[in-house]
Amino acid sequence: MSNDILVITEHMDGKFSDVSFEMVGKARELASALGGQAVAVVIGSGVDANVFASDSTLHIDDAALSGFNPEAYAKIVEALVKEKSPKAVLFGWTVTGMDVAAWLSAKTGAPCAAYAKDIRVDGGGFVVSCQVYGGKLMAEVAPEGDMAVIACLAGSFPVEAGQGSTAATATASPVDAGSLKVKFVEAIKPAGGDVDITAQAKLVSIGRGIGGKENVELAEELAQALGATVSASRPVVDAGWLPRTRQVGKSGLKVKPKLYLMLGISGAPEHLEGMKSAELIIAINTDKKAPIFNVAHYGATADLFEVAEAMLELL
């Protein structure tokens, strides 16, 4: 058993996501408190792996893994864990990390703490703060046993602390790509042809509180009166009320407008990932305990329809 912290980094189109650096920075802090090493793990090819402030970086450089493959990642990490017996394995609680973290936990019997917002060392182990129930509750848990799997929400730690230039050591993949049951076929590119919400200075963003497709028009009218564009949370898009190009968040787009006016969005962590750095956030929500009020600059506990209609009369 070692006191090392493995960080499973993630990259797409030759670029590492911020969460990779965030976790490496955190891992350094944890490893130094425990007397271990922060080891960045890079899986896949076509990416410069010498970019982390880790104690060491392992690059499993295999052209067969140029596209993300959940089964391959899972098996590679399982083999690494066997070899290195780390104290913790950090994943992003992201569309890729989520495919592997809980699997590894069940496979190895190591506990898993997901939705992690913070990790600290406590008496040789960890205490992890997890943002559960859509952001309504924080759970503090201590993983038991020799190794912990911790899946971190993006944006929880500073990016800079993980940036550096540690030279990576290339190693061969321990997994035979030919034996995998999951095969990467091709990348799917985002559909174009709509306004680019990341380029807008003002967004009127609607959530499930908008109630139905027939009410989207009210938001459109308000947006027009403000010179803004309508964006949305994921359920609005999944329901088919607006196209995917308008979705803000973890699996949508990251926006940073001057104004982000939110109508009927609760403020789930997955939505916050996409908009929390907007310059002015105003939230209208009927639930006075909606998590969005911990993030917005201004808020009102009010009915979005009444407020939107009254605003239209004044604009």
């Binding site: 959940p70 936990s105 590119k189 979705q247």
Partner: protein
């Protein structure tokens, strides 16, 4: 095609979530079907409609109220429903995944679907854990599944509309993010009819697994900041927002 959908009954986050001790006060919350499970049920029924087969929905009955959810699943097109009687509202994802895996083991599933996550997945989601316990591959963030023979074409989402297409050999477990179509509506009359006529297969929990997490605390987040609240009637709120926007040159 034999499709099994593993579901999770979870405390509703639409209401207050009171805490008792170091966990949710399960006695004073409503339990609802995890919202992504609606998408995995829909995805399963869409495949059945396309290529034929059966859809079995299985869940852990934590508080003795899963029947309503299972009747709804039947009304939406499931063929068979199974409940694992646990009577433990605090059963974590590891326990539920283990029980589900044991129940699913003998079902001869070609595909197992689960919601991509649930809001109470403190110890991870049941989908990847069921896959680990059943020794099947897992793929999550799934936005469509098409069955073709003994493999399936699976689309996984990344972000901003980007994703990737995979070919996956059966059997496998998929974590469904969204069905290709919004989940269908089941008329109340049909749900009621299912409640009167359908049989729910009941099994006891089998197998043991634990999250291995010691709970130290659970509480609403300590806000590092809080919005400045604009008080008043909706009209007054609207006026104040417009004024604020004007003062910042935003309206």
């Amino acid at each position: 095609m034999n499709i099994v959908v593993a579901i999770k009954h979870i405390p509703s986050i639409a209401d207050d979530l009171p805490v008792s001790g170091k966990n949710v006060d399960f006695d004073s919350v409503d339990f609802v079907l995890n919202e992504w499970d609606e998408h995995s049920i829909e995805q399963a029924v869409l495949i059945k409609e396309a290529v034929g087969g059966t859809v079995t929905v299985v869940g852990v009955d934590l508080i003795g109220e899963l029947d309503n959810v299972l009747h709804l699943a039947l009304a939406k097109g499931a063929d068979k429903v199974v409940k694992i009687t646990a009577d433990d509202p605090a059963a974590d994802s590891h326990m539920q995944a283990k029980w589900l895996a044991e129940a699913i083991k003998g079902m001869g599933a070609n595909m197992v679907f689960a919601g991509v996550q649930a809001s109470n997945d403190l110890d991870g989601q049941i989908g990847p854990m069921i896959a680990a316990y059943l020794d099947m591959p897992y793929i999550g963030g799934v936005s469509s599944v098409e069955a073709n023979g003994d493999s399936a074409t699976v689309n996984k989402e990344f972000a901003g509309g980007a994703g990737a297409k995979y070919s996956v050999s059966m059997p496998f477990v998929a974590g469904v993010q969204a069905a290709p179509k919004p989940p269908r509506y089941a008329p109340v009359s049909k749900v009621r009819q299912m409640a009167q006529t359908a049989t729910i297969e009941t099994v006891s929990p089998s197998g043991d697994a634990s999250a291995g997490l010691a709970f130290k605390n659970m509480a609403p987040p300590v806000a590092t900041g809080h919005a400045e609240m604009i008080e008043g009637s909706s009209k007054e709120v609207a006026a104040k927002i417009v004024e604020l926007l004007k003062s910042k040159g935003l309206a």
